[in-house]
């Protein structure tokens, strides 16, 4: 009873402060100086048309490296937890349906191409390395669901992922060597709106896309293996 009252009390407090903010700040108004600066200057300073990816990779590139590290640690931690819970109990399993199998045959290549498109065009159109990698991993998820004998090679996943992570740091170090700043844009801006423009943004997004894709595929495969052993 006391606990419920306390929760209600906390909710009222949070609601009060949120409501006061919503009332005083007009919705969607251009307020922040930082946001306006980014929108006005990203094309001139980075050559990337998409302001969001320019911020993520160039202005805040070091934070993104941290983000990639956090994702890597989370995947590793999950694999470590799952490694201890392998019970062997055979379960009756239904075969994947015909629609699932045939649909996956057509959708899997499309998912891979679409994921690659999302991270290759990160500096031009909405998207980037993280969603692109996840789209690729969801293609593999379909494959895991439709063909349960299929198994991605764990060693290759690990190798690809580590190489991608090292390339990210290497690109950063080349920036440090050439320009004196870690993850500095050593390739120049190029012409905006071209595929080969915006310096290191496409490079880093390709690396992130490959890394996230292989990481998530490995994670899904880990989860699936333990379910199959049940």
């Amino acid at each position: 009873m006391i606990r419920k009252l306390f929760v209600l009390f906390l909710l009222v407090i949070v609601g009060f402060f949120l409501a006061s903010v919503v009332v005083s700040v007009p919705f969607g108004a251009e307020k922040t100086i930082v946001g306006r600066y980014y929108l006005n200057n990203t094309i001139g300073e980075t050559g990337g048309v998409n302001a969001v990816t320019s911020i993520v990779v160039l202005y805040r590139g070091f934070d993104t490296l941290g983000e990639v590290t956090v994702l890597f640690l989370a995947a590793t931690g999950l694999a470590a937890i799952l490694a201890n819970t392998r019970e062997r109990r055979k379960k009756h399993k239904e075969k994947p349906s015909l629609i699932m199998r045939v649909g996956t045959d057509y959708l899997f290549p499309a998912a891979i191409v679409f994921g690659s498109y999302i991270f290759l065009h990160g500096h031009l159109t909405p998207g980037g390395g993280f969603p692109g990698g996840v789209v690729i991993a969801s293609g593999f998820l379909m494959l895991f669901l439709a063909q349960w004998h299929y198994k991605a090679d764990e060693l290759w996943l690990k190798v690809v992922e580590s190489l991608a992570g090292m390339t990210y740091v290497l690109i950063g170090l080349i920036g440090l060597w050439k320009l004196g700043t870690f993850l500095g844009n050593f390739l120049g801006k190029g012409t905006p709106n071209m595929l080969l423009s915006a310096g290191i943004i496409p490079l880093i997004y390709i690396v992130i896309g490959i890394k996230v894709g292989s990481e998530m595929t490995g994670l899904l495969q880990n989860l699936r293996e333990t379910t199959e052993n049940e």
């Binding site: 969607g28 998409n50 969001v52 990816t53 999302i118 909405p126 998207g127 980037g128 993280f130 969603p131 996840v134 789209v135 991993a137 969801s138 998820l141 998530m216 994670l219 899904l220 989860l223 699936r224 333990t226 379910t227 049940e230």
Partner: protein, 84 residues
């Protein structure tokens, strides 16, 4: 933003509230996972309407796609119904 889009956004906000309520209340964890996927998907559409397509793509692929898949697998591995 035109009035039609505004009403659409309001309807989607209400749908999200209902979905979030279902997630908290239901004892069937699979229903909870599906309801949270609905919340994520509607949120992705709202992000798109509010002119944040980058966030919308990420929300749809990670929030509604991969997280839901992982949750479904975890529910399958553990148990489906919550104890009182």
């Amino acid at each position: 933003m035109s009035t039609l889009v505004l009403y659409l956004a309001l309807a989607m906000a209400i749908l999200m509230l209902v979905g979030a309520f279902v997630v908290v209340v239901t004892k069937d964890l699979l229903v909870a996972v599906i309801a949270s996927a609905v919340v994520d998907l509607v949120l992705a559409i709202l992000f798109y309407i509010l002119q944040a397509p980058d966030v919308a793509i990420t929300q749809a692929s990670i929030g509604a796609g991969l997280t839901t898949a992982i949750f479904v697998v975890v529910v399958r591995k553990t148990k489906r119904f919550e104890d009182d």
